[in-house]
């Protein structure tokens, strides 16, 4: 469904952030995109959704195709029209508007009565029903995250790009969000590309995963294989040798350097 081919992205024409990224999101599947901070994960999402141009970024090489349509030169507004919706990181609710207005904003490009869509969102996030007329800026972090997800759901996207949906949330709430994401994928058949720091949660709902580092994809495997990969375990899942206490004296970077690029 979505194919990124050797994509290079520069900000302000000089800052190279993606150095040849290739990945694929098959129809109806969940794909996880992992990596440390600054590896370029958000930039991958913005390159797909076209929001790069709001940050002075451009795709300078390679191509992105969505169902055989080339999208890397398109306006973000037209890309949304094709069915690709990004949930920007950081719970960007429209603060002074109500929950209802936020959700209506999500359905901006659609016409007709939105009652069924509101009901759909409320079935995933019952809390939003009680908060229907509340001012969005005063909601708690978890409620705001539900709101931005609900806003994306209102558009009935074919591909949803999720940027760190669990960032800054309590573990229980984070689990609830991931459950809902998985449920939405299985019920609506929406393909998803999920960028996450919480590798364990992301790999538990995804079919396939990519690991990025310094603007490149360094690992590309089905999610179960990634979860078993010893490098991923040590560097992203925080697992050492079972049974042994982790000695921080041993954790010296030069002892076991991971140089996927070497």
């Amino acid at each position: 469904m979505l194919v990124m081919n050797a994509v290079e992205v520069k900000y302000l024409d000089v800052i190279l952030v993606l150095a040849g990224v290739s990945l694929e999101v098959p129809e109806g599947k969940i794909v996880a995109l992992l990596g440390a901070n600054g590896s370029g994960k958000s930039t991958v999402l913005k390159a797909i959704s076209g929001l790069l141009e709001t940050e002075e970024g451009r795709v300078t090489d390679g191509s992105i195709h969505f169902n055989s349509i080339r999208i890397d030169r398109m306006n973000p507004e037209d890309i949304v029209r094709l069915g690709i919706v990004q949930v920007i990181e950081g719970r960007r609710v429209l603060e002074h508007l109500t929950v209802e207005q936020n959700l209506r904003g999500g359905a901006y490009l659609r016409y007709g009565d939105l009652k069924r869509d509101f009901d759909m969102v409320h079935s995933y996030f019952p809390r939003l029903k009680e908060l229907h007329h509340a001012t969005a800026g005063y909601l708690s972090g978890g409620e705001q995250q539900m709101l931005v997800l609900g806003r994306a759901m209102m558009a009935h996207p074919k591909l949803m790009l999720l940027d760190e949906p669990s960032m800054g949330l309590a573990p229980l709430l984070s689990k609830e969000i991931f459950d809902m994401i998985q449920r939405f994928n299985s019920e609506e058949k929406t393909a998803m590309l999920v960028v996450e720091q919480n590798a364990r949660a992301a790999l538990s709902i995804a079919e396939h995963g990519y690991v990025m580092e310094n603007g490149r994809v360094v690992l590309d495997a089905p999610a179960v294989k990634l979860a078993d990969n010893p490098d991923v375990k040590e560097f992203y899942l925080g697992l050492g040798v079972p049974g042994q206490k982790r000695s921080y004296r041993e954790v010296k970077h030069y002892r076991r350097r991971k140089r996927w690029l070497a």
Partner: protein, 295 residues
């Protein structure tokens, strides 16, 4: 007591016009966060154009008004295309300074075209006074007030119930999120400016027909509309109306009682004093959006 009532009613009437002028400012600010310092210049320019069509070219007044409205729509689209779009991504202060320059430019063009004299707008509403009890109101003031209220209600309904109104509010909240929802920010800017200049045309023509066609109309945009906008709240449409009426009342009532004591001129200062007080006491205005911060 009768004198007080007379001042009060006059204040409310003129306050409606001030509110309408401020409405144009609020529309632009609401969608693009730009404080349009050229608003007064547009008021004056569009009033002059109307006078020019009606008095110089001899067209019937209703046709002149329609032509000016059409021109104002084009002007609004033009401002977005040739002034805002090249400045996308630049600091907001740069755009505001550009509107300041545009205002001066418009004033200069008006002087070149029509000189610095005062002219009278051809009448389209009777100037006779009607009596409501002890208070006399000139009919054209009443009509102007009525038109202002009507437009207000129309716009408030538009913002609350139409998709375009929602789109404008979303764009003013967060441009990047707006684009991520598929809203074309450029189109929203163009439409907001077109709306705002149509309001400027209507309020400019009304104001000029109440007072006179004169280059000083340009000042109304800043010295009267800005205090109204601040009092009502920068993003609030109902605030512009309420603020306008309050400023109008204070101006006429205060001026009516104090002017004779100081030999005149105090009336014009009152809105500015009000502006100072608002900024000190409640900067968001009555209905303005408060800054919501998560700690």
């Amino acid at each position: 007591m009768d004198k007080f009532l007379q001042f009060l009613v006059s204040g409310i009437m003129i306050g409606g016009i001030y509110g309408l002028v401020a409405l144009g400012l609020v529309l632009v600010y609401k969608s693009s966060r730009v404080l349009n310092l050229a608003h007064g210049g547009f008021l004056m320019m569009l009033a002059w154009l109307c006078w020019s069509f009606a008095a110089q070219l001899g067209l019937p007044i209703w046709l002149s008004i329609l032509l000016v409205l059409a021109i104002s729509v084009l002007a609004g689209l033009g401002v977005e295309r040739f002034i805002l779009r090249p400045l996308i991504g630049q600091p907001i202060l740069a755009i505001i300074i550009v509107t300041l320059a545009l205002g001066y430019f418009l004033e200069g063009v008006a002087i070149m075209a029509w000189g610095a004299d005062t002219k009278g707008m051809p009448e389209f509403i009777s100037r006779e006074a009607i009596w409501l009890g002890p208070v006399s109101i000139a009919q054209h003031y009443l009509w102007a007030f009525g038109i202002a209220i009507f437009l207000f209600v129309l716009l408030i309904l538009f913002f609350r119930y139409t998709k375009l109104g929602l789109g404008m509010q979303i764009v003013s909240e967060d441009q990047q999120v707006a684009r991520s929802l598929g809203i074309s920010v450029k189109n929203v800017f163009a439409q907001s400016w077109a709306f705002a200049l149509v309001i400027a045309a209507i309020s400019g023509i009304l104001y000029a027909s109440l007072k006179a066609v004169n280059n000083s109309i340009a000042l109304v945009g800043l010295t009267k509309a800005l205090p109204v906008m601040l009092l009502g709240g920068l993003e609030s449409l109902p605030g512009a109306l309420v603020g306008g009426i309050i400023v109008g009342i204070f101006e006429i009532v205060g001026g009516g009682y104090i002017d004779p004591l100081v030999g005149g001129g105090f009336t014009d200062v009152i809105p500015l004093i009000l502006m100072l007080i608002i900024l000190l006491v409640r900067p968001y205005g009555i209905f303005g959006w408060k800054r919501i911060e998560r700690i």
